[in-house]
Point group: C3
Chain length 438, copies 3
């Protein structure tokens, strides 16, 4: 049953041997590393039956699985369907977007389980995994999908895999610095996922700049149906974002609060996006690109603060601002970035993840600095910011300062890492071209 | 990165300033009202850590979030993907359906949080919200999406927003009369959502009747792919309807039962829809419109009774009947409504929500009236119908009577409200036309 | 509102009366049988309020509903959207795939509730159903959807319904033999769902072999957009497979573990599928058929063992192997099956469900046989394999042996049942043809 193959898939004849080899070798490496390091965490291990009794857990429902699995599945859909389909708007690149997104994400989650595991779940020589690790692996890959959005259509699958390899490593290091060394709160990843992913991708695309790409502008166009597929991606990202921002928050009120704040911020963001999209177009019509992207900025921008007492009206304000910033970015900033700075941002990730991610980091720092025992309650205050152990003496303003430091660290890591990986990708490309010509 | 804009979006040149202004002003109003009124409910507030101890809650999992969040996400998908894509079947209106549905729902949920909050969650001057409020806001907007189905293609986004503003208010009033004053049970909203939404929308479309709309019949056609997109909408509504009907039922057996009843009713409905669709077509072929719509009638019609002891076979009977009623409605009633009563029902909501909603109200009244302590158990009986406090002396037949009264109230509210809003919309339209010609 | 009808739906003029009659009669039969036999299980019955107290259940959250409902909804999406859209790749058969899948599944789940109920949930003359029964009914229908994939495009809706009727019965018998008589573990259904469904369908398609079908090869082609719709099916199957394999496992660690194992196996499978797809194509391009199908084989192949202590690296190994086996099957085996054995396997279910299902059965037998008290813990060991009552003395190797026997039984039932049903279908077809010519 042979079917015609599609244009979307790259025609690189070198793929024939290189892609299979890379995939197989890396998967073998994963198996070996998993064999040496990865085991089930206590709540997924058959020993839990005994451990439950020791820990006085009275019911099976108090397994972390039941707190987080529904959110995990929503996040999973966001990574594979949400990001995959959102990038499908390019006329000739539907398969590429979904297919390569599938490939890099499937590789990335395995590698992320290892990298994040070494930093966060390493006990007595083993990485012990549970549902929270699966969510974190998806999160990490999310930042790669974001970066992919900037270079969409410019790289081969191999280059994508190499980028994934390095970006996952750098993500894990950055996350470790922020969460463990700086004691930063960032459950929805405004800094670790969005800011890092966006500026990493933008740096890579800057280095891979090819001036003659502009000529093939007709390829960048969209058609009616590819826009409808992209709307599927948008809507699943929009609907499930409350799960994204609440997935790894503390059990109970924090998860509950994170979902409500995100819901509010996203709703407000839709209205200001529509308003500015209509206002900035010549004939008052709505631009599909804005609706597909800028409506999501509100979710990005409460990533850090959603689990805090941001309050519903605070969330509305954040969503209000981000819808405007993101839409204005698409209209005025993206063209300038390309013409002046030679940054070809295919999907406009700077408007959807870059600026809203920075805003999210700042909002988080302010919300943390403004926290009081009155608003959180005595115990809630300690629980929300984890002011225990060596952080017992921290004040909200100290926490706010460290949150701000987290933004800077994420930016530095993104620029440095992106430059490194971009150069690597560039040299791979030249290698391919020279051997192709030779 | 400019992309071609599509026909689906209205070309009204007045949109340029009016839509942005309306969106921005309303969003500012939302922020102010949320700032004054909306706060986190006890289970989403950081004080919960302390409150838990006072209320002797032993585990974080007993937060309402874990009882309702998975259902909430399913309902959320139904509103944004389900309704949005279901309406996509019109050839030239794919974007309009999804995009405007997105806009009105995003505005509607904020406004519904306020309106429903004032009626149901108002304590010491504040509206305290939690996951149940999010579900209720989605429900309220669901009734607006239903009404949108009747006027699809006939109104500008501004008119839709104005309709949303009024309909959400009337929905909240109607809901308050039913649930609080009449002590009616309607967890899945056969009356409050479907009957009210459908007859409201039909009244509006009657008033907006334009005879020359018939000429552009070719616009009303569908194409192969738009029908496949519509099937995505249908299937998500169909699959997640058990979550819809069980989302705000009492914890425990009531939620469990509501899901089972809805599952059964929907399954039966598919078979009778297919049977009558095939039987009533000239060549025995299946009509996609029926499959896309009538298969869902079974979910609508157990909206009131699903959480009661309707029993699985009772649900099958309801689904059996509704598949027939709905399909026959599409074949015979819709054309008559248009030619005789001048009601242009674009999506056929009378067949999917109107008649099944009425049936749902009646089935609910009968099921309530037929309840006995034997079937429910002594405590289950009291819990199921909330026969406590001033309702301690109510008998099932009294409950049944009040349920029936709820149907009448919903219809009256729908007709009166629809007439009011329809006239308002009509005058807006004339205003636009006259200024356009002037 | 009449819309053009599409080619996908069969044009059989005999459908006009036969399909409606069959649907209506069967639905009436369902109502009667449900009326006589089906009632709510204790956790969905209003008596639960009292039962809770007797059973010392302290919280409503310990209702099975909250353990399984999120997984149920994911499985539901897999059956209706996953299987429905996956089969949509055939150019002219989009509606047929989704529509007929919808019809057979809606009928099948009702019939499965009865058949499985008689075997597994029959107490004091009644079938008592809860959320686990809904999942099992969906599972049973899943095996019919698999078989449908082999005969897609060759049968009328009536033939499909007849096949569903018989296959559901045989499924229930086979499941009863395996789970109850042989004490086999198979929570994700490698044997009962995939092996049985695939070889059943292949036997049916062998008997329905029509040599001239090859000529209409252009009908078998796919187009760009139908491939994108198929990717929706693929991704939802891939993402929700962890829910599929964990849906009916024991509460707590077993569900948790099953999700993790499946997640790992699927991720590995994507990489080897991409590798071999690229390697075996002439120009190194990826074949969409492989990406749409073979990437899922890893989920099938851990169906039996996912809830056991397979460990994450064990899962990676299984996924690694299955991606290769399945892709190689599409390239080399499917053409041979058609040319030599006259088995026209439209969707290649032998590669996606047949071989991976067999591998899954074998992996399960080995994993069970290799179990030790050391790995599972004393109590976890007993709980995992249910070594209580008359199975108290069973050793892992005995369990492994019986697991292997389960594979053989499933195969025998599939071949025998498929032959029976295939002949029945063939005679129906001749009946239709002769009356059509007469």
């Amino acid at each position: 049953m042979e079917r015609p193959r599609h244009q979307g898939m790259a025609k690189n004849t070198y793929m024939r041997w290189r892609l299979p080899l890379v995939c197989l070798l890396w998967e073998v490496a994963m198996i070996i590393l998993f064999g040496v390091f990865v085991r089930f965490g206590p709540e997924a291990d058959a020993h839990w039956e005994e451990e439950k009794q020791e820990m006085n857990v009275t019911s099976d429902i108090e397994n972390d699985f039941y707190f987080r699995y529904p959110s995990f599945q929503d996040v999973h859909v966001m990574i594979f369907v949400g990001f995959g389909f959102l990038m499908m708007f390019l006329k000739r690149y539907g398969f590429g977007a979904v297919g390569f997104n599938f490939l890099l994400a499937a590789f990335g989650i395995q590698w992320a389980l290892l990298m994040q595991g070494w930093f966060h779940s390493f006990k007595t020589g083993k990485i012990l995994i549970g549902v929270e690790n699966l969510i974190n692996a998806d999160f990490c890959v999310g930042s790669v999908c974001i970066a992919f959005g900037a270079i969409l259509g410019k790289t081969s699958p191999i280059q994508l895999l190499v980028m994934t390899l390095f970006q996952v490593m750098l993500f894990a290091v950055n996350e470790y610095i922020l969460l463990n060394l700086l004691h930063v709160k960032d459950a929805g990843g405004s800094m670790t996922i969005h800011t890092f992913g966006a500026y990493f991708g933008l740096t890579v695309t800057r280095i891979l700049y090819r001036p003659n790409l502009e000529q093939s502008k007709d390829k960048q166009g969209s058609v009616y149906h590819s826009d409808l597929f992209a709307m599927i991606g948008t809507l699943y990202l929009w609907m499930y974002w409350p799960s994204f921002n609440s997935a790894i928050s503390e059990h109970g009120d924090a998860q509950h609060r994170a979902a409500i704040n995100t819901y509010c911020s996203l709703a407000a963001c839709v209205l200001t996006t529509m308003a500015f999209s209509s206002m900035l177009q010549k004939k008052g019509k709505l631009d599909m690109v804005h609706i597909q992207n800028a409506t999501l900025a509100g979710g990005v921008a409460v990533g850090t603060s959603a689990e805090m007492m941001l309050t519903p009206y605070g969330s509305l304000i954040v969503g209000f601002i981000c819808g405007i910033v993101s839409t204005v970015g698409y209209v005025y900033l993206t063209p300038v970035l390309e013409s002046r700075l030679h940054i070809q941002d295919t999907c406009g990730i700077h408007n959807l993840h870059g600026m809203p991610g920075l805003i999210g980091g700042i909002v988080g720092a302010i919300t943390a600095a403004a926290a009081t025992e009155d608003v959180y309650g005595k115990e809630g205050f300690i629980k929300a910011f984890d002011f225990t152990g060596s952080y017992k003496t921290w004040s909200p303003s100290v926490q706010g300062g460290f949150q701000a430091a987290g933004i800077v660290v994420s930016l530095v890591m993104a620029f440095a890492g992106g430059a490194l990986v971009g150069k690597q990708e560039g040299s791979m490309e030249r290698g391919v071209l020279s051997s192709a010509c030779g």
